[in-house]
Symmetry: C2
Subunit: 440 residues, 2 copies
Amino acid sequence: MKIISNPPLRRWERLAQRPALRQEKLMRTVEKIFSEIRKRGDKAVLKYSTKFDYPSQTAFPIEKETVEKASEALSERLKQAIELAKHNIEIFHLSQREEIRKVETTQGVVCWRESRPIERVGIYIPGGSAPLFSTVLMLAIPAKIAGCSEIILCTPPNIYGEIHPAILYTANLVGVNRIFAVGGIQAIGAMTFGTESIPKVDKIFGPGNQYVMAAKKIATLYGTAIDMPAGPSEVLVVADETCNPSFVASDLLSQAEHGPDSQVILLSNNKKVVKDIDAKLNEQLLALPRKEIAEEALKNSRAIVFDSLEECMYFSNLYAPEHLILAVENPHLLARKVVNAGSVFLGNYSCESAGDYASGTNHTLPTSGYAKAYSGVSLDSFIKKITFQQLSEEGLLQIGPAIEVMAETEQLYAHKNAVTLRLGEIMSKRLIDNNNETNI
Amino acid sequence: MKIISNPPLRRWERLAQRPALRQEKLMRTVEKIFSEIRKRGDKAVLKYSTKFDYPSQTAFPIEKETVEKASEALSERLKQAIELAKHNIEIFHLSQREEIRKVETTQGVVCWRESRPIERVGIYIPGGSAPLFSTVLMLAIPAKIAGCSEIILCTPPNIYGEIHPAILYTANLVGVNRIFAVGGIQAIGAMTFGTESIPKVDKIFGPGNQYVMAAKKIATLYGTAIDMPAGPSEVLVVADETCNPSFVASDLLSQAEHGPDSQVILLSNNKKVVKDIDAKLNEQLLALPRKEIAEEALKNSRAIVFDSLEECMYFSNLYAPEHLILAVENPHLLARKVVNAGSVFLGNYSCESAGDYASGTNHTLPTSGYAKAYSGVSLDSFIKKITFQQLSEEGLLQIGPAIEVMAETEQLYAHKNAVTLRLGEIMSKRLIDNNNETNI
């Protein structure tokens, strides 16, 4: 790793930058495929799916039988592990449910919010050699807790038309309604517009390569929501002299092995610690099957020595990392200074892979500095919070005159009139009541 | 209004559609102006601002003195009304704060979420004859409660370089840090890229015409978050025979007067009620200063008679209205059936203008069917919820083996190794402790 010592403040912004991605050409490719899918539906989707993934493909839906058989291909040990992860993810996401809180803002004016599920959600799971069944857990479990009525999953088939059994098994376990063997831009396009066999959804979730990411961004222009824009995975570790250099090295490598465009950043107030970690990192790297990928990622990466942990945290907030590991003596003290981050791991035993798989937190997190404005996926990502209000006669008497003058200033006279008419009716009703009382 | 009786189910989807908007040309215009602003900063922004708004403009920031003087131009009655609205909006948005809930998902594995403000937010307020100072309240108050450190506001100057004093006064009252006299695509571009005088922000909020809306969508492609995509304003009213036809007519007109592209929908299980409302509507329309606008909007609008209130609610969820008024005998019963809506108003005295100005709920809401996947603006829109986790040795012993098998299946061996190394250290430490105990 490249080690930088005490960079001057004016260089920080630059050091916090990600490798640039050229998007313009990608966007044009996506627009072209989207326009075909919009016009020709399944036919267009099939054209691209047979071209890029499964040449003999004729249909997308995975048969129920195939899904149920997937269980046989998995070891008991793996199934138990999935069960444990499912349990923890359920507990944590269940804790995110919100009670209805009715608030009387003024006497007779009651306001509150209620959560409602997003009805139709689509989950995208990338293909390739590594079957990301953990992402199925992370997306389908909160969707189920939220009460989404239709949860579909798209994932590319291999050249023989197969989907990895771990993906099928997990999807079935957590209640995915339908699985389609389709990937890439064509999968996102199908879920955006709907085709004869693949339904349109209200919101699309899940990771993917640069094509999938570009397609998700374009999907939002056509009215389909997405979980968040995403870029390559990244981790930032703040380590002091109490850290275990071997542990930190293994965490940096867990991120580096994701892809050649991943980025890892190490910050410390202690140069010796950085050197120790770097030595361990080079040692562990040798034993990795995905060594070449990790090496490539390490080229984008850097270790920076600052004067103090405060400076480390200042830089970390400027960088806004997807994962932030605080491998320091008092991680809770430092955690208070976190402003921008996707997920934070405290102390020597909270390795990033715990959050990636089984602690219960969600691993779909904002990358590329998006943590400045976006949260990771949570139960909130699968619901809408709808506001409700009810005013009594008394309530409208209290706030009506204020509404009238504000509407008048904004020159919205029908807005004013909606109040004036009601106030008039209330007043004349009360006048009649009063008269009746006087007459008795 | 066009009245439709008992349409067959196959026509419902069509009846729930909004008037189509052509976006392609708009998008190209935005891309062109954005690219100029990116390269030439203030110079490019000034070029467009002098062209469209204030020909003699030389700078954007509004002087502190001008802001403070704005108060003199406002009546006491208006200031008191703003104070009342501010109070209610504060109370309701304060109630949206979330306590930290630490959850032990497995013994020794503690996970929780903490809220952190989005640091730099930009508020856009449209220009034109009607000064939307109420939107300043709706956006700056939750930003302030969230703790955003920089809240800027952009709004177009008139031909003389002036901003309406109600906007300046309100912005100052609720803690906006800086105000810039700039509007349109150029304002959104400036906040997306930052210029010499206008800072880049993390998230842009606020309504606008079709140019501003297109610019906000494009801003997201450059990494700036937005509150939500938006289209013309709309209301759907469900009314039964207990409604007050005059009130309902006034609510329909409050929406229709917003703009010629606004849409209002009336649903009922009673044809007579619809006819009564239509009569009142035509009567009230005559007295409106914005009569022409409202008439235009009513051309896009319709009243539909269904067999039952259940059918009305089914259609309403298909339409997913920005505002939903339930002018029925038992609005709470019907409210349970709401799945897709921005904000819901219950009963005869909860007029939409209450929520637009002063009840406390937010008036920045999803339009054009976006309510299927998006919530309106709330405190949540100004914060990130960051996940935290801390594992003890015990915690890692409990879930470590599951992580190992899952990571192995996903072929992420460095992820596995981060656990294996730690488990090894814990086991050998315990072995030494045990031996020491045995020796004593």
